[in-house]
Symmetry: C2
Subunit: 290 residues, 2 copies
């Protein structure tokens, strides 16, 4: 591992690109390898066993690239798989999105005596109670209310925007119970949701602080690399992004622009078969598109 080594960012599909966007803003010189498991997305309604297995395969596949850091840029995968995955790869620095999001939520709650923190997330993330535990470790006296929002990922993957009446209705249905409970802070507990951040902020009103877990995650990665002396030259802005997907590279390329704000190269297609072979027969090098 050296400052020139790449950062691996993985997600079930497109959502993790909001983390990539924030990472590229903060660390424009870094090489990023993005893996979107589009053949098996979404992760948000699946079990810990299944999601941990998928994440394990993806990391095994990219390990020969000698990453200096792996980011699980998906709240569901962080909630369900991160502790087990850290045990499986004990020498590999791996971080997720939940701890940084929880830290920011506690900071945003400020000095209020009994703040109410709202979490909006996938069904699996809500069920895992990972945010509750992460917030509870930092601040015992906080009320936490959670709301699962199973339709938001498909709505965003369909390419709908905040102006669409259906998007506004879905957001209202999911957010109203949280607002009624008097939340002070709202955590966007899924890396897809920052795409709708403006609409969400407008719907909940200016008195509720909205925390973007993707943005917090990127700052956390920068800090971890800095602490280990593994940041690239800060003047360097030649960072490249190479993507890998398990299904339909063309569709991924088409939709990625919305998350990143710019075009990307066509991703490399990795069939799920290859991921299974990989894990059983040991890692083989993969080539990164230039």
């Amino acid at each position: 591992m050296a400052p020139s080594s790449p950062i691996v960012v993985l997600d079930s599909g497109l959502g993790g690109l909001t983390v990539v966007r924030a990472l590229r803003g903060a660390l424009p010189g870094e090489q990023i390898l993005y893996f979107g498991d589009t053949a098996r997305l979404p992760y948000g309604n699946k079990t810990a066993a299944t999601v941990t297995n998928f994440v394990h395969q993806i990391i095994s596949y990219l390990l020969p690239q000698n990453p200096k850091h792996v980011v699980i840029a998906c709240n569901t995968a962080t909630a369900l798989a991160l502790p087990a995955i850290r045990c499986t790869f004990p020498t590999l620095p791996i971080s997720g999105v939940i701890e940084p999001g929880a830290r920011a939520a506690v900071a945003a709650a400020g000095a209020k005596q009994l703040p109410t923190i709202g979490i909006i997330a996938t069904e699996a993330t809500v069920r895992s109670r990972a945010y509750e535990r992460a917030i509870g470790r930092r601040r015992q006296w906080a009320r936490i209310v959670q709301q699962s929002a199973p339709l938001l990922v498909p709505i965003i993957e369909e390419g709908r925007s905040g102006n669409d009446p259906l998007v506004r209705l879905a957001l209202k249905q999911y957010l109203t119970p949280l607002v009624r409970q008097g939340i002070d802070v709202l955590v966007l507990g899924c890396t897809h949701y920052p795409i709708l951040k403006d609409t969400i902020a407008q719907l909940v009103g200016p008195q509720i602080r909205v925390i973007d877990s993707a943005e917090q995650c990127a700052q956390d990665v920068a800090q971890r690399l800095r602490a280990r002396g593994l940041l690239r030259d800060a003047q360097d802005s030649s960072g490249q992004l190479a993507s890998f997907v398990t299904d339909d590279p063309g569709r991924f390329k088409r939709l990625a622009g919305r998350f990143l704000g710019h075009e990307i190269d066509l991703p490399t297609w990795v069939s799920p078969d290859e991921l299974y072979r990989e894990r059983q027969g040991g890692p083989v090098p993969v080539s990164i598109p230039a």
Copy 2:
């Protein structure tokens, strides 16, 4: 293969249960093995290569049960995988949902000179143009208009009903373009959609005939088995249903009631790993819950 052999019904998740329901109504004595690939659902936004691979693994896994018929109870899998799967298993009788749906749509269009047939389906089914080809083979002079409805599967998997304002708004957004084009017949080209059939029929109005591909598929299976002398005794109504899922048997059991109209036994969990091993090392027998 004998009349006592089971019928295999497979789908990405819960949708194919609408076919099971229709099958059990028509053939109450049959043993049904249902496979829902819940770890990798949905199929509707994935490619032919990926979906064909998944279907291949599922059939390989259930082959030791010596099924007398395999039903691909998913429009996406039928559209993308059926021809290739028939070549891979040449001695196994396999049918899908698209041909029966197309046949019923042509019959419903009746004697009208240039009928307009509307199809509502997943993105992958629409892109495959499988319905256009299947209708075109039966009736050259018909206008066909298609509409993909990517949110309907997640909406139904979330357990929302036709009374929910969000469901009505989504249906209006998807159906209005079809109604404006003056369709005479509307094909529900996804086995999930019959769950919302009443709401859909009410929205499009009584002058548009709504075709339920799940119902048509069940009638087609009954006819194929009858032609091969493989139907069970018509007086027998002791048919059992055994289910297999690749993720979360408990969730599947909870939601299945809505599709079937009655409770089911807890499904057997089959990890995707097992499906990969199966295909590579040859089939091994699986045990069916009593």
